[in-house]
């Protein structure tokens, strides 16, 4: 049963990659938005980092990962569109009749977001090094581990938001708010130490905080895998909780397909 489930999820994921390949415009937003904001904020980050004691910093060490993390949240909106458009296409009902469970549809269709995120990070980090002199300094596997933990967290959040939201409009509105909130609180716009004290206090409750902290220790402190263990563990742990919650909610709402479309 588990293998059949995985087979169906994998078939859907492959199919979704094909759909994404037909229209990669989400990637433009995911890549261009952080690059633009990096251009504006890098000089300010440089002064702040120098004050913090990183005399050789050029600002990109914070700006590049910070803003990539912040805009990576938009995959949640894209994931929402990907899921809700199945209702508009009337294909959701067909998937159900084909024996695919709601959880499998949601997991299969959101898994390719991992790929989208990998391309986003690779492009922004790559262009960041060409345009803004960004260097990883620390261990690439450590950066990869932080990325993977964050990406899993975002996929889990997408599943949960879909389980909770009734329409794609709701999901997009909520995601936009969360992007600014988690990005700002996490230290993407100004480093956490420069946030107002109340914000500093709640900052560790946001995923952005842990992701940016993990990336900073790689780019500014030259850290290796063991130094990012805490952020990776926190992100992975909360991703598991979100995904479990989403699965439970989706399991309880097998008639989710009825929304939006007539009868089906």
């Amino acid at each position: 049963m588990i293998t059949a489930s995985l087979t169906r999820g994998a078939a859907l994921a492959r199919h979704e990659v094909r759909i994404l390949a037909q229209d990669p415009s989400p990637l433009v937003a995911l890549v261009v938005m952080p690059l633009l904001v990096i251009t504006f904020l890098r000089p300010a980050f440089r002064s702040i980092l120098v004050q913090e004691g990183y005399a050789a910093a050029n600002g990109s060490e914070q700006a590049v990962p910070g803003l990539t993390v912040m805009f990576s949240f938009f995959v949640v909106s894209f994931g929402g569109l990907m899921l809700f458009r199945e209702h508009g296409w009337h294909t959701w009902a067909r998937l159900q009749v084909a024996g695919v469970r709601t959880v499998e549809i949601v997991a299969g269709k959101t898994a390719p977001l991992l790929l989208l995120l990998a391309v986003q990070f690779a492009l922004v980090f790559g262009l960041g090094s060409a345009l803004f002199g960004f260097r990883l300094h620390g261990s690439p596997p450590a950066a990869a581990a932080v990325f993977l933990a964050l990406a899993c967290w975002l996929v889990a959040l997408t599943m949960l938001m879909f389980a909770v939201c009734r329409t794609d409009q709701q999901m997009i509105a909520l995601t936009n708010v969360l992007t600014m909130l988690f990005g700002g609180l996490g230290g993407a716009l100004v480093p956490v130490d420069s946030l107002p004290s109340w914000a500093r206090a709640v900052s560790p409750a946001t995923p952005g905080y842990w992701a940016i902290r993990g990336f900073r220790s790689v780019t500014l402190d030259g850290a290796g895998l063991s130094a990012v263990a805490t952020p990776v563990a926190v992100l992975t742990g909360s991703a598991v909780v979100l995904a479990a919650l989403a699965a439970a909610l989706l399991h309880r709402t097998p008639t989710k397909s009825a929304k939006g479309t007539r009868g089906y």
Binding site: R8, W89, H90, T91, Q96, V97, R101, P254, S257, Y264
Partner: protein, 306 residues
């Protein structure tokens, strides 16, 4: 695989649509589901596929209760809903591949099934076209093909021939007959009665929430069909003429059901008096499924389709 519908009720809000539907379709049987617009054909089909819970009653597919075990019941079920459901931004082949894989097909077997349904529905030349680049009838063919890929033992087709050209229609009907010959039970909703003859289908007429007629074409025509006279006027049916309680007026035509149409025609013409010159044609109608349908619903099926 037998489909067994027992006492199914369904209301949308406080508006009842199905009021106790009982229907059985046996393996190898094609059943044409007929009814006016809004009769509840699509609602019934959606309930059978387990996509909509009935308010009361139950549906058994091969003995498995759809409400209790939707996944087991669906393993051998295919549904092409009335609303087109295809992926517009990927190719015909990718659409077929996805649903084939979801049914557990792979490799040579997957290719073989895709070729088979593509042949049955004339999709070969369209393999590399995106779903959105197909014409309406082509989309309908792909939509139907997706339901037949896994050789379902119970196939539900909700108006599959809407917008499909004559050549494709006959191939589609042939494909449906082939599936039935292999032992599949088939529920087929349509407004085109001639298709049921081609399909050698049995008939179920859904009217005002229940199945009011059920049987083979011949049985229904023998027991419920009445011959009739169609009086067609040049412009419209003149006011102030009383053709009796059974007369059905549609546009410029009055249908007068009768067991002796020649006599009825003579009587009717006598009744016309001065309006006689306004008659364009008089036609004797033999009993057929249309007359059965009309006598129950007051409408002709092609009026519903139009």
């Amino acid at each position: 695989m037998t489909l067994h519908i027992e006492g199914v009720h369904k209301a949308y809000g406080d508006r009842p649509v199905l009021r106790g539907v009982d229907l059985r379709i046996e393996p190898g049987e094609v059943t044409g589901l007929l009814g006016l617009n809004g009769a509840g054909k699509s609602t019934l089909v959606t309930i059978v596929a387990g996509l909509l819970p009935p308010d009361a009653g139950r549906v058994l597919v091969g003995g498995v209760d759809v409400g209790r075990h939707p996944h087991r019941a669906r393993a051998h079920l295919g549904l092409a809903p009335q609303d087109l459901g295809i992926y517009p931004s990927v190719t015909v082949r990718d659409n077929l591949t996805l649903f084939g894989r979801l049914a557990g097909l792979r490799g040579a077997r997957l290719r073989e099934r895709i070729d088979k349904v593509a042949d049955a529905l004339e999709l070969e030349k369209l393999f590399d076209r995106q779903g959105r680049a197909l014409s309406g009838g082509e989309q309908r063919r792909l939509h139907t093909a997706l339901a037949m890929l896994h050789e379902p033992r119970l196939l539900l087709l909700d108006e599959p021939t809407v917008g499909v050209d004559v050549a494709t229609r006959s191939r589609l009907l042939q494909a449906v007959r082939d599936l039935a010959a292999d032992g599949a039970a088939i529920g087929y909703s349509t407004h085109y009665l001639a298709e049921l003859d081609t399909l050698r289908a049995t008939v179920a007429i859904l009217h005002e929430g229940t199945i009011v007629r059920r049987g083979t074409l011949a049985e229904l025509v023998d027991t419920h069909g009445r011959a009739a006279v169609d009086l067609t006027f040049t412009e419209r049916v003149p006011d102030g003429l009383d053709f009796g309680p059974d007369a059905v007026v549609r546009g410029a035509t009055v249908r007068l059901p009768s067991s002796d149409p020649a006599k009825t025609a003579a009587e009717a013409l006598g009744l016309l008096g001065a309006h006689g010159s306004a008659v364009r044609s008089v036609e004797l109608v033999r009993p057929d499924l249309e007359t059965v349908f009309l006598s129950i619903t007051g409408h002709l099926p092609q009026e519903v389709a139009a």
